[in-house]
């Protein structure tokens, strides 16, 4: 789960990581008040959950109130990578003497929280990783010992010279690690971490993602979620035991298992079709889940045909068949449905569905993919 910069900075402040005074604004009027409160040059920053806000014109430095209002007028309502800006952060501007990148992330390879620090602050770290990987200092943090202050100092001494700056930066990093572990984050970035013209080290930007699996331990952070409509659909699906992601194609898919679901989508693509979604009904055999899944598929008006691909393991094919029959009872289905049942109780499942003439059956994934594409072409 992602949170906005202003929310991340609120958490930072709770952990005593220095951030600039900030006011979150939903309207231009609020920006006026915010400017008066801060009473100094400000930065007006779009709060949307995508990167590249600066490039898109979503971040403006403003030396006067009029300029701040002008910026707010432009940015509020702006579209950045498909997301509408609904709020802006107004923060006291900083005279930057130097800037750095600091990040913590759950790392697959080292099976630890990985610290990344770079003198290349303020730019996208993925870019640096591609073009100048040697400019990123990486350190796997021992999960039992934690990040020790001396380690933080050792890292920053590789990119800073001034002992006073290093001490401040190390102190921030130790706090960031504590925050990371205590909040079950999966990513925490300060980009840039700046040194201002008064030798103060400040977190100028803040990015935080939380581990969805751990949100149950952190209702206060879970409550910070600001989902787009598509994401709300995904969350709704999660609550129903489904994993659902909407895409742009016209073939709805219902599969059991994430890997098989991806492979099914790949197969549709391979044979020239276009999947409308990723939908994994998971491992349990509850027919109700199949009903919910059908609801999600049919709710998407772009869907012109449905491919159901089940390889029964824990999931029993007869349960899926039963769920499908239940769904037919409560909803009108007027698009073609291709179904492939294999594995546990496949025979029983097919038996249950044999009287349903609208269903197109298939033996293999490939056959199913071909048939569903064919069906969309006919439709």
């Amino acid at each position: 789960m992602k949170i906005h910069e202003y929310q991340a900075k609120e958490i930072f402040a709770k952990y005593k990581i220095p951030v600039q005074q900030q006011v979150i604004c939903h309207t231009v009027e609020q920006v006026a008040t915010a400017y008066e409160t801060i009473n100094a040059p400000v930065v007006v920053k779009a709060q949307v959950l995508v990167g590249g806000r600066g490039k898109a014109g979503g971040i403006k430095f403003c030396t006067t109130k009029d300029k701040a209002l002008e910026a707010a007028n432009k940015i509020l309502g702006m579209d950045i990578k498909g997301l509408t800006v609904e709020k802006v952060l107004v923060a006291k501007a900083v005279d930057i003497a130097d800037e750095f990148y600091v990040g913590l992330i759950n790392d697959r390879n080292t099976k630890s929280v990985l610290l990344m620090v770079s003198a290349e602050g303020g730019v996208e770290i993925e870019e640096v990783a591609k073009t100048n990987p040697e400019k990123i200092i990486k350190m796997a943090i021992d999960p039992l010992v934690g990040l020790q202050p001396y380690q933080a100092r050792n890292v920053f001494f590789q990119v800073m010279k001034n002992g006073n700056h290093v001490r401040q930066a190390a102190d921030i990093l130790v706090k960031l690690y504590k925050l990371y572990m205590e909040t079950d984050a999966s990513l925490a970035e300060i980009n840039p971490l700046v040194i201002d013209n008064k030798d103060k080290v400040i977190a100028l930007d803040a990015k935080m993602n939380f581990d969805d699996n751990a949100l149950f331990r952190h209702p206060e952070y879970a409550a910070m979620a600001d989902y787009t409509d598509d994401e709300k659909l995904e969350v709704d699906a999660t609550e129903k035991g489904l994993s659902y992601i909407r895409l742009d194609g016209n073939i709805g898919c219902m599969v059991n298992g994430a890997g098989l679901a991806m492979a099914t989508m790949d197969m549709i693509k391979l044979y020239g079709g276009d999947p409308a979604n990723f939908l994994d009904i998971g491992g349990s055999s509850n027919p109700q889940k199949v009903v919910h899944a059908m609801e999600f598929l049919l709710h998407d008006k772009k869907v012109e045909a449905v491919l159901i691909n089940i390889f029964g393991g824990i999931t029993r094919c007869d349960d899926v068949a039963r769920g499908l029959l239940d769904a037919f009872k409560i909803m009108t289905v007027n698009i073609p449905i291709v179904i492939r049942l294999s594995g546990t109780n496949a025979k029983e499942g097919r038996e249950l569905l044999k009287n349903n003439n609208e269903l197109i059956t298939a033996e293999t994934m490939g056959e199913a993919a071909r048939k569903v594409i064919e069906a969309t072409k006919k439709a």
């Binding site: 697959r108 999960p143 572990m181 581990d211 699996n213 994430a258 890997g259 989508m265 549709i268 546990t344």
Partner: protein, 290 residues
């Protein structure tokens, strides 16, 4: 022969008295897995269909000599159960549980290392050495004894692969679902090493996914250290960047972990990459000169 589990595997089931734990314990037992104990705090002294239940893994190990454990414990308590197994002397833990917080897995990792405990998963279907032992939730009917080892990040996709193999007359030595989470126990390289050393494994199927660079690392490792033929498959070629496809691990972030990169890496390592699961038995037969 096989890797990790065989006729000597003595299994303790953690969370045996739960719904899933009970169901799959029966399945495993029916397959012939030697289940020697279950753990369920507060129920020591009872038994479930003849399997004695203990309060702690330590008690179970002491009384039964269990060497392997399988976990059906809820996500919030799973890391603790893994640590318990490891500290009690269990040498292989199979964590079926899905939804364990990643930080919990990270924290338990050094404990496993300290005790020399191997872990499969979490969020995995387990593993099977056909004809010998099943530990996990794999549907047994599709497997057959033979000489192909299989490693997969996925569950049902594995079944799809195995089904293709078995229906084409190709049996398996051991099939392992390593799990789809960002941080997991044994990964490709450790398992490739074991299969390479296993006399009865003649070829290996590796079933990967988008996200991370484990497949690229596996490709590089195969090039250097694996003499047996390997056939690969990568799921998620059609997945858009930035979207998490069910598996927490299956997330393409910019410039890393795409299917194209992985396929290229495998092909550069001389590994044949199947476009459809159906191609796998064909490639295996070619590789083994059948």
């Amino acid at each position: 022969m096989s890797i990790l589990i065989n006729n000597d595997t003595k299994l303790v089931v953690q969370g045996m008295t739960g719904r899933d734990g009970g169901f799959h314990t029966e399945k495993m037992k029916a397959y012939g897995t030697k289940i020697v104990a279950g753990v369920s705090p507060g129920k020591e002294g009872t038994n479930v269909n003849g399997i004695p239940v203990f309060n702690t893994v330590a008690n179970a190990v002491k009384a039964t000599g269990a060497n392997t454990s399988v976990l059906f414990v809820p996500a919030a308590f799973a890391a603790d159960a893994i640590a318990e197994a490891s500290e009690a002397g269990i040498k292989l833990v199979i964590a079926i549980t899905e939804g364990i917080p990643t930080i919990d897995v990270i924290r338990v990792t050094p404990i496993l290392e300290k005790n020399g405990t191997k872990m499969i998963g979490p969020n995995c279907p387990g593993l099977i050495s056909p004809g010998q032992s099943l530990v996990g939730i794999l549907p047994v009917s599709i497997f057959s004894e033979g000489n192909v080892g299989l490693i997969s990040r996925s569950g049902t996709l594995t079944y799809e692969m195995v089904n293709q193999l078995t229906t084409n007359g190709i049996g398996q030595s051991t099939c392992i679902g390593i799990g789809g989470d960002p941080v997991i126990g044994l990964h490709y390289i450790e398992l490739l090493t074991m299969f390479e050393a296993d006399k009865d494994t003649h070829a290996i199927v590796l079933c990967g996914e988008i996200g991370g660079d484990a497949e690229e690392q596996a490709a590089a490792f195969i090039k250097e250290h694996v003499t047996k033929p390997v056939v690969a498959f990568i799921a998620g070629q059609s997945a858009p960047p930035g979207k998490r496809m069910g598996h927490a691990g299956a997330l393409i972030t910019s410039g890393a972990g795409t299917a194209e990169e992985k396929i290229k890496a495998f092909e550069a390592a001389g590994v044949k990459v199947a476009k459809e699961p159906i191609e796998i038995p064909k490639f295996i037969k070619e590789a083994l000169g059948k």
